[in-house]
């Protein structure tokens, strides 16, 4: 059960990161999800990425809605504050939290039901507002927690475990994200940890709305042969578009990449991201090309993964609102309350 603490066994041999912390220090409580659930692999990838990035976990806030996926923030980063809000409304919580303190990192975790159905509106608006956050959808094409109903990301050709046909068109969240102003759009697969960890890291380095659609099979309700979100289906149809290398600011780039195949993007925090394209028909900095590729590959039944789109616009919601550099929750009251002399002037203007 969720309230069970993991035994605190110290392994002296565990590797430590620059903060002197081990991978263990980035873990959370024991997961209560079904054995083999894709969501647990994503939690593991988040833990791995944060450990490797030497992230001070208390400077991160983890936020979620409701669903099996939204439960997962309990299972990683125990030293972070968490907020398990209400169904579909994590984006507004994240927006407000970010407005109050622009200096923390905000990691939102949601499900396809949470994001593509009840929360579709909030998801869209958080993107167009360019909230500086990482937004992960753990996409299993079903409502896990309420026991296997179709979700809005279920493909039209997919069938339920009981064999029912899905009558409605799927919403492709990556396409939507590119349309609505997410500056970083990627798709990952929970079964591909090697591909996933660099994507998560890159999202952390991006300033703006970084969206990760991670296909994450639900072993209990949507992992059967007629499902397009099963481990087998995704493994068979996965087309990786690129491979990512992140070069932190302090390290030099040694090897020159092969011309035309590699795109180097400087992130806002100074680090460099090198993208080794496995398909050179598209350019991830061009939204049109990304959208066309997504559509074409989808119609062939393929599941494209990798970094699909990135822009280098530097403006987030705070830039757009012209808020002060100091976190709003730290501005002293003396700078917020104008005092009685000012009120006397206001009174005068009301006479």
């Amino acid at each position: 059960m969720t309230f069970m603490k993991k035994p605190n066994v110290r392994h002296p041999g565990l590797r430590k990161n620059e903060l002197g912390l081990t991978r263990r220090d980035y873990e959370g409580l024991l997961s209560t999800l079904c054995a083999g659930c894709g969501h647990d692999s994503i939690s593991a990838a988040i833990i791995e990425a944060c450990f490797e990035m030497d992230l001070p976990a208390h400077r991160l806030a983890k936020l979620s809605g409701i669903g099996c996926s939204s439960k997962t923030p309990t299972y990683f980063l125990n030293q972070s504050h968490g907020f398990n809000s209400v169904h579909g409304r994590m984006p507004s919580i994240a927006t407000g939290a970010n407005l109050a303190n622009r200096d923390l990192i905000y990691l939102g975790v949601s499900g396809d039901g949470d994001t593509a159905s009840i929360g579709l509106g909030q998801f869209c608006h958080a993107m167009r507002r360019r909230v500086n956050m990482i937004y992960i959808v753990e996409n299993n094409g079903t409502y896990g927690l309420t026991k296997g109903q179709f979700s809005a990301t279920s493909d039209r050709v997919s069938k339920s475990k009981k064999g029912e046909a899905n009558l409605f068109e799927a919403i492709d969240l990556c396409t939507l994200a590119i349309h609505l102003g997410a500056g970083f759009v990627a798709r990952g697969f929970s079964g591909d940890k090697e591909g996933l960890v660099p994507l998560i890291k890159a999202a952390f380095h991006y300033k703006g709305f970084a969206f990760l659609d991670i296909v994450s099979p639900c072993v209990t309700f949507n992992d059967h042969a007629a499902s397009t979100k099963s481990y087998d289906y995704v493994r068979a149809h996965n087309e990786a578009m690129d491979r990512l290398d992140l070069v932190p600011e302090r390290e030099e780039i040694i090897a020159q990449a092969e011309e035309g195949k590699t795109v180097t993007v400087r992130m806002h925090d100074g680090s460099l991201m090198r993208l080794h394209k496995l398909d050179d028909t598209y350019d991830p900095r061009d939204s049109e090309s990304a959208l066309t590729t997504l559509r074409k590959r989808y119609s062939k039944g393929q599941v494209v993964t990798g970094l699909l789109y990135i822009d280098d616009e530097d403006a987030d919601l705070h830039t757009l609102l012209n808020t002060t550099a100091q976190p709003l929750n730290a501005v002293p009251m003396s700078d917020l309350c104008p005092g009685n002399a000012q009120l006397a002037k206001i009174n005068k203007s009301l006479r």
């Binding site: 309230f3 398990n84 507004s92 407000g96 303190n101 509106g121 909030q122 309350c337 005092g339 206001i346």
Partner: protein
């Protein structure tokens, strides 16, 4: 009919014709002459074309209620002409635009025709000006007819168009045009007229929404999220306007973030996110928005996130009467959301209290770690009210409640997010990012233990619910007390009211006292009710509860939450959407007293005892 400083002028206009500015100028000038003015804007849910009225009661300075009845009608709207004509009291005055002939089916009123449209057509070429200045012309005529101090009116125009000097002279010219016409053609002043009054010099004229917004600024709110809805929109707009001026850092960047959200769910979500993260945050809405915010209100109650919700109530149910006033969200707000929830409500009685109680709301919310709802209404929020000046004590320290910083976490006992450490049932909280290894917790709307961990242990959940009940008892001691006004020490008749009905109820009590009915009055200012509420009830046999809703929502709350016997509480209910008049309140209460023999007998006894 002779009336000095005591009459009602009503303007009947077409919405969108630019009358609002001229009508406000009229009210403002009378206010500056030291008189009591009670302006009410009776407007449609429409941008252009439908009828709209503006009513100004001129009265002695202490009176602040709408009177009802019309002594002088300025009938500028052909659509409502017949209805407007019928409203004039016997012996009253009709001022109309005589450019076109009109019927006068009444011979008990005085008719003053001014060819306003023709005068404006002659004076102006631009059609928009021809329309706009018609309003200024009738105000000009009134300055002569009512004997207003023209210097004051002229100055009001200058102040109104400060920074737009080009507009000053044309407006004054238009005023003079109307004034000269009246002086030349009518016997000025009329027997209905004003003379300068002696009201205190420090009074101000302000809407409740403006004052509420200033309360948010002074409370130090830094995050506001909202979705437009009448009649609350001007709270957020005024907040943004003031904050943009008063909240700049040295580089011109803002110490405030205002977001127009995609709906009320997002608005309240943003506010909760910001408040959870340590900012003072608020949202403002009205009826339909309150309904949408229900789920999040329950989360904030249960997860104990402090923020302020301004509810400027309007006519319900459903979309209801969006431009009319009511106090019909009492039950909904007291218990908003599913499960056992209860919220702290504050009831300001005038704009000055909108300012004060809104500022207090932020302190209370953070002290109690719960949402606080400020229950304003359309009459209070959108109409201009005359009240005392807004005041801020510079020595006041904002109460930020129980928040542990890194040092406290380092040196203090083990952190339990929902533990009752101090015996007041209010727990301690921490903000994200405070300490590398202490104080992190998981906020959730699911059942939790004192460490904020998920639990399905029914006993643990019940204990937490009980603590929340005890926390509400703590709230009872902290919220503003009801204000009691006695007209008799021994009388057994009482009246209870709250919010904007204050003006009418107070005047009604004076009228009733004159008729020999001495009532003690208690004005509620908060829910949960303090001890004084039940005590007041215990000391009276019969208490009239005046409220603007159909179902007697406050009465029901008094019965269930203050334990007042139902038979003592007599509902006086109004729900036609208009601000109450003292006369209506007096009539209802007097009739009830008369018809109730036993009460009359009790009164006799108390009169004899005096």
């Amino acid at each position: 009919m002779k009336r000095l400083n005591d009459f009602v002028v009503k303007f009947a206009n077409v919405n969108g014709s630019g009358s609002a500015s001229a009508n406000l100028l009229f009210a403002k000038s009378l206010f500056r002459m030291g008189l009591g003015v009670v302006p009410k804007n009776i407007f449609p849910s429409n941008i252009q074309g439908l009828p709209t009225w503006y009513e100004v009661r001129v009265t002695q300075a202490a009176r602040r209620a709408r009177r009802g009845g019309v002594d002088v009608m300025v009938a500028m709207n052909p659509q409502t002409y017949a209805q407007d004509l019928a409203e004039i009291v016997e012996g009253g005055y009709l001022i109309y635009d005589s450019s076109l002939p009109r019927p006068f089916p009444r011979d008990d009123i005085n008719v003053l025709g001014i060819p306003i449209a023709r005068m404006c057509a002659d004076a102006y070429l631009n059609p928009r000006e021809r329309q706009l200045f018609k309003n200024v012309v009738y105000v000009g005529a009134l300055t002569a007819l009512l004997d207003m101090d023209f210097k004051v009116v002229r100055q009001a125009v200058r102040d109104r168009f400060k920074g737009k000097a080009k507009l000053v002279d044309p407006n004054i010219e238009a005023l003079k045009m109307g004034r000269d016409y009246a002086l030349k053609n009518f016997k000025c002043p009329l027997p209905v007229r004003v003379k300068p009054g002696k009201a205190p010099k420090d009074r101000i004229m302000i809407t409740g929404n403006e004052a509420t917004a200033l309360g948010c600024v002074y409370a130090g709110a830094t995050v506001a999220a909202w979705y437009p809805i009448t009649p609350s929109t001007s709270v957020a707009e005024a907040f943004e306007r003031h904050a943009k001026k008063m909240r700049l850092d040295g580089d011109g960047a803002r110490r405030v973030a205002v977001v127009q959200a995609e709906d009320e769910l997002a608005a309240i979500g943003m506010v909760i996110g910001a408040a959870w993260n340590g900012a003072r945050a608020f949202t403002a809405t009205s009826g339909p928005g309150i309904s949408l915010m229900g789920e999040f209100l329950g989360l904030a109650y249960f997860a104990e996130v402090p923020f302020v919700l301004i509810n400027v109530q309007r006519g319900g149910p459903s979309t209801g009467m969006p431009t009319r006033t009511q106090q019909s969200d009492i039950t909904t707000c007291a218990y908003a959301s599913h499960g056992d929830t209860k919220h702290v409500l504050l009831f300001p009685g005038d704009p000055k209290e909108c300012f004060e109680l809104t500022a207090d709301a932020f302190d209370l919310a953070e002290r109690l770690q719960t949402p606080v709802i400020v229950m304003s209404d359309l009459d209070l929020g959108m109409n201009e009210w005359v009240c005392g000046p807004l005041e801020w004590d510079d020595a006041r320290v904002h109460d930020r409640g129980k928040v542990l910083d890194a040092e406290a976490l380092e040196t203090g006992p083990e952190f339990q997010r929902y533990g009752d450490v101090d015996g007041d049932a209010i727990p301690y909280r921490t903000l994200p990012g405070t300490h590398p290894s202490k104080g992190a917790f998981f906020t959730r709307g699911s059942s939790h233990d004192t460490y904020a961990a998920y639990t399905e242990d029914g006993q643990v959940n019940a204990e937490n619910l009980d603590r929340l009940t005890r926390k509400f008892a703590t709230a009872e001691k902290l919220v503003p007390k009801a204000v009691i006004r006695r007209s008799s020490q021994t009388g057994k008749l009482g009246v209870i009211n709250f919010g904007s009905t204050q003006a009418a109820v107070r005047e009604a009590c004076d009228l009733l006292a004159r008729d020999g009915y001495k009532l003690n009055a208690m004005r509620l200012r908060a829910f949960p009710f303090g001890r004084e509420v039940a005590k007041f009830a215990a000391g009276h046999d019969r208490i009239f509860v005046v409220e603007q809703n159909r179902d007697g929502q406050m009465r029901a709350l008094l019965i269930t939450e203050a334990g007042i016997p139902a038979e003592k509480l007599v509902s006086v209910l109004n729900y036609d959407g208009m601000p109450l008049t003292p006369d209506w309140v007096r009539g209802k209460i007097a009739a009830s007293i008369e018809s109730d023999k036993s009460v009359a007998a009790a009164m006799q006894l108390s009169v004899r005892a005096m």
